[in-house]
Point group: C2
Chain length 284, copies 2
């Protein structure tokens, strides 16, 4: 049974396109609508043949009872401002941004009659764009829901239902805590993988043709689209910068142990890293 | 047709065990012999049922015309000293160590009648031990051969044949250049992945249960066995320390761009990293 009358997806790239495909497969809404800024994305979305494709974000949200904003995080405020006048009274708004405090602040642009409940599905990857969308993108992946503590209970329930129906495993926490968590498990690893890739390129011994799976895995996420990540890292600047400082310090510790041929310290540091890394696999 | 009369593998863990399985499958030698320091490894090797298993390294190398040393790099000198008195005149010695200058120096312990040709198959991984050995470990993987420039041509040819027959793609370079290359593509990524894993653990927001594939990939190689890696990093100290310094500098550059909300610089750095990372995939 359709849980929603009409779902509008605003900014349909990898995440938004996958929301459309997953919602269509599960029959989550009576109808689907979407908007993308670029004509090439709109052409991809039309080819999905699951949603009405709009050239105006405001037109797209009319009649929807659930609006899912999936534009890059640094455009959230402009997006909210663009759709605000056209939202149906009572329509619930959620999003999929990788940071939550900044978006919660941007959501003040929405009318008081349109509750906003932030969300962040931990899905995606280094291949951006609607052409990489998949109906199974959210399955068994963590999705953060970030209630403000003063939310309309019915709106919160609608947003929980929506992300859960797409296959996500829900985790609830406030926006500030969310940003601290994803800095550690996602934003810092991204920035550190970029730092490693740049450092490897700097080395006189770097030979593309000799590089293997170890280097490829360690740097895979650095292939992510930079415009998306500039917005994310700057919107979560404090935590990400703290994390990078820790990388600098830990790299310096390892370097100093190597320079002084201090096998005991080096062994201790590598053993701590190994044990921590193995605990990630036990959780997988 | 068997290319060798008898191959002896000294120190049979993941690499040595895989050499035995691969050589047996390909019928590379009339007979195979191996030695491991630990009784549990010897039990694993006996269960392979492809080689005579010895409790003494010296006993093991008698009668062999090719000896493959696969002990950890920091024990190379002691291993060469232990087998030197028992080598057949003319027997060729090769190895599989991840550093080459230090091992070339250690090989001075071998008799003048036993040519040493260093090698480094870029295979392995974070799962150590003979129990993870595989006959296909070397297939289509780069194997460095590091001639000194003054080698016996017949010995060099024998060693090339051996590693090639195991399925490797040979790359020849001198020991010093080898060490510079593997610092960039292997030793630095290992140390940097450990630094990232330690830094992530340091973060107040770290939640094991929320961590995903991005963090797991970026840190996978940090699960490697520390005793092996202490030897490697200390034996290639100068290049690895230089690489870690570059990681510190690149992480600091990214951090400063984030702290000063300098989107242009951050975008430029992330774009350079993305382009470099994508070039690794084109080479895969």
């Amino acid at each position: 049974m359709a849980q929603f009358k009409r779902i509008a997806v605003i900014g349909a790239g990898l995440i938004g396109g996958s929301v459309l495909l997953a919602a269509a497969r599960r029959g989550l809404a009576g109808s689907l609508a979407c908007w993308s800024r670029s004509e090439s994305s709109r052409a991809t979305l039309r080819a999905f043949n699951v949603a009405e494709v709009f050239e105006s974000a405001a037109e797209c949200v009319k009649e929807a009872d659930l609006v899912v904003v999936t534009t890059p995080v640094d455009t959230a405020e402009a997006t909210f401002a663009a759709i605000a006048p056209a939202l149906s009274p009572g329509a619930v708004v959620t999003d999929a941004g990788s940071v939550k405090v900044a978006i919660l602040l941007a959501a003040r642009r929405l009318p008081a009659v349109n509750p906003f409940i932030g969300a962040h599905p931990m899905a995606g990857g280094e291949k951006a764009g609607a052409s990489h969308a998949s109906a199974s993108l959210f399955e068994k992946r963590v999705c953060f829901i970030t209630p403000s503590g003063q939310d309309d209970p019915r709106a919160l329930d609608r947003v929980r239902t929506f992300w859960k129906e797409l296959g996500s495993t829900l985790t609830e926490t406030d926006a500030a805590k969310h940003d601290e968590i994803v800095a550690a498990i996602s934003h810092l690893p991204h920035a550190a993988a970029a730092a490693l890739m740049l450092a490897v390129m700097d080395q006189p011994g770097f030979r593309l043709e000799a590089s293997g799976q170890g280097l490829r895995d360690a740097t895979r996420i650095a292939a992510g689209e930079e415009n998306l990540w500039v917005g994310i890292l700057l919107a979560n600047a404090r935590h990400t910068a703290e994390g990078l400082r820790a990388v600098e310090q830990r790299a310096a510790q390892l370097r100093q142990a190597i320079e002084s041929q201090d096998a005991a310290t080096l062994r201790q540091l590598l053993a701590e890293a190994r044990i921590a890394r193995q605990s990630l696999d036990r959780n997988a």
